[in-house]
Every structure is written in structure tokens, then in C-alpha cells.
Symmetry: C2
Subunit: 224 residues, 2 copies
């Protein structure tokens, strides 16, 4: 009866696996994954750390859940479009999601058990390719190369010592200070690259992404 009202009247909304995971993602986005602890997460939810263990088997299980939510944020390939535009949109969405949650890509390494959103995503991508006429082998090739590129590019991008959103001034400065420490001519090609590109005022490494993506999509089409 007034069960709902009573629940709401309790000092805090009911703790839930979903609520925990969402709060954990928010915290990880803001402060980085290495600073995410059960105690801090509990505090944020107005609860003791140990209460979280009523909803997550352990921290690893929680991280699994977080990764699966992130995967769920990636756009699934649209059904109607041709495979190239479908894969292109999916790749761009995936990169955006991974940039939004920089910790997620580093976690993938150790996630052994894919969650439902992850599986649904994979199934949907494979379905899109098969519908477009890809053989099973060719779909596997295409998926492998595309996902490899998406993850790897974004990983590299995140490793760069500046936030992608602030952009050019930061990287120019950074490249400058890094190069200062060298003997002149020690890394000539690196220096050339820095002067010609990285230190230009409108340089954004992220712009490279679509160049490589299109090169790969062309290559796949030709291989069909």
C-alpha cells in the first residue's frame, strides 16, 4: 500500500545495483578510476562502504557492471543504412563514449565476463555486417580490424598528455617543453613532426581518427 511512500520517506532512496553503478561511473569520470574506492563511493551514496556489497559481489564485479553500462552507451548500427555509414557512425560514437569515460578502455584488458549490453552490441554489429552480405569470415575480419582501430586510436589519444577538449595550445606547449630537453638533432623526425604539426595552433590529434577510419572502410570494401 503506502509501501512506496514509506520507502521514499526513509532517509535515502533505496540502494540499487544500478544506482551504485551510475554513481561509480560519475565518480570515475570526474576523479579517475584509480581514485574510486568503495568508501568514497559509499559516502557519495550516503551509505557505508560495506553496504555496497549487498548489491555487488566485489569490486571487480562492480567494474564489470560499469564497463557494460559504458558499452550500452555506444550507438548500435542503424538497420536501414548501408554498412559503411552504419559502421562509420558506430565507430565515431564508440570513440566519443570512450573519451567520455577514459577509464573504461583501460579496464577492458582484464574484463573476462562480458555483460548483456556488451553482447547485445557485438551481436548487433555482426548482424549488420551479415545482412549487408558479408561472409562469416569476412565479418570477423572487418569487426576485428575496426574494433582494434577504434580502441587503439582512442587509447593513444587518451595517452597524449593533454585533454582533447582543450586542444592545441596545451599540446604545442607540451611538445615544446618535451623537445627542450634534447640535444639538437637527437630526434630529428620527432622534432620535424612537432614543428610541422603538433605545434600548429589548430592541431587536433583527434582529427586523425576519421582519416584512418575511412582508409579501413575502403580497404574492407575492396576486400569484399
Amino acid at each position: 500500500m503506502a509501501l512506496r511512500a514509506k520507502r521514499a520517506a526513509k532517509r535515502r532512496a533505496a540502494l540499487t545495483r544500478g544506482r551504485i553503478l551510475r554513481a561509480a561511473i560519475t565518480l570515475a569520470d570526474r576523479d579517475g578510476i584509480e581514485s574510486l574506492s568503495m568508501r568514497k563511493l559509499g559516502t557519495k551514496l550516503g551509505v557505508e562502504a560495506m553496504s555496497l556489497y549487498n548489491h555487488c559481489r566485489n569490486k571487480v564485479d562492480m567494474l564489470d557492471g560499469m564497463v557494460d553500462i559504458v558499452f550500452g552507451e555506444i550507438d548500435l548500427p542503424a538497420n536501414g543504412a548501408d554498412w559503411q555509414t552504419a559502421m562509420r557512425k558506430r565507430a565515431i560514437s564508440a570513440r566519443q563514449v570512450l573519451l567520455r569515460h577514459p577509464w573504461a578502455i583501460g579496464l577492458m584488458e582484464s574484463r573476462a565476463t562480458p555483460g548483456p549490453a556488451t553482447l547485445r552490441h557485438h551481436d548487433s554489429v555482426l548482424g549488420s555486417l551479415r545482412t549487408a552480405g558479408f561472409s562469416v569470415d569476412m565479418a570477423a575480419h572487418a569487426y576485428s580490424i575496426l574494433d582494434g582501430y577504434i580502441y587503439g586510436f582512442t587509447l593513444t589519444e587518451l595517452a597524449l598528455p593533454f585533454s582533447t577538449s582543450e586542444g592545441a595550445p596545451a599540446v604545442a606547449e607540451m611538445a615544446g617543453t618535451i623537445m627542450e630537453g634534447f640535444r639538437p638533432g637527437q630526434y630529428p623526425h620527432l622534432a620535424e613532426m612537432a614543428v610541422d604539426r603538433a605545434m600548429k595552433p589548430d592541431y587536433k590529434y583527434g582529427d586523425e581518427f576519421e582519416y584512418g577510419l575511412d582508409l579501413i572502410l575502403d580497404g574492407i570494401e575492396r576486400a569484399l
Copy 2:
């Protein structure tokens, strides 16, 4: 004078940044990076944890050093060969090194300060491309796409729930048990892929690597 002999006569060989880093890499390779602690590393070297801080500013500095050593293990592109074979060999070497040190790829994400071996490697690759006639822009494109693919593919490969060396039986079994939990037809394309490929006795995901690599190399050549 007999300084050398005296040093050697001390109960243990002198502690050195290099010796620490090599021991840390061995430990990380064996037990995983998350289990590498200063105390365990000290014990392995016959020394207290705090002694390590005489040679490494802190743990992050030590991890930086480890990553740089790993980078140094990757073959530099040979000078004489044409750029395609040079890049091909480098990519294959990089994948092998990263598989040997699975923790390294996850660490790259947060390394802000590249070490000397890392810089030398980048400079050498860029030099190889520029010598082959690539423009600065085209060299940047090629490097970005190749490295993205190498890291991403290897990351994906490491995320698979089986060691690449043991190969087919493990993944077949794994794919089987994962699929068991689903409603039939829930992930039809995933199931098709599993049956057609992953559960075949001689399936190795690693074989995909060179397919994608060659597709990318072809694409780059055509873009020249």
C-alpha cells in the same frame, strides 16, 4: 681499488634502477601488474620496500621506467628494407612484445612522460617513413593508423578470456559456456560466429592480426 670486489662481497649485488625495473617487469609478467607492490618487489630483491625509493622517485616513476624498457624491446624498422616490410616487421614485433608484457598496454593510458627508448622508437619509425618518401602529413596518418591498430588489436586479444598461447581448446570451451546461459536465438549472430569460427579446433584469434595489418598497409600505399 678493490672497490669492485668489495661491492661484490656485500651480501647482495648493489641495488640499481635497472635491476629494480627488470625485477619489477619479471614480477608483473608473472603475477599481473595489480599484484606488483613495492614490498613484494623489495622482498624479491632481498631488500626492504623503502630502499627502492633511493632509485625511483615513486611507484609511478618506476612504472614509467618499466614501460620504457618494454618499448625498447620492440624491433626498430630496418633501414634497408622498403617501408611496407619495415612497418610489417615492426608491427609484428610490437604485438609480440605486448603479448609478453600484457600489463604494459594498460599502463600506456596514463603515462604522461615518454622515456628515451619510447622517443627513439617513435623517431625511428617516422624516419623510416620519411625516407621512403612520405610527406610529414602522410607519415603522421600512417603512424597514427598503424599504432592505433597494433595497440587496439592486442588490447582486444588480451581481453579475450584465454591465453593466446594455449589457443583453441580454451576458447572453444569458453565460447560454449558463455553461450549456454542465453535463451536460444538471443544473440544469433554471436552464436553463428562462435559455431563457425571460435569453436573450430584450430581457431586462433591472433591470426586475424596480419589480415588487418596487410589491409591497412595496402590502404596506406594506395593513399600515397
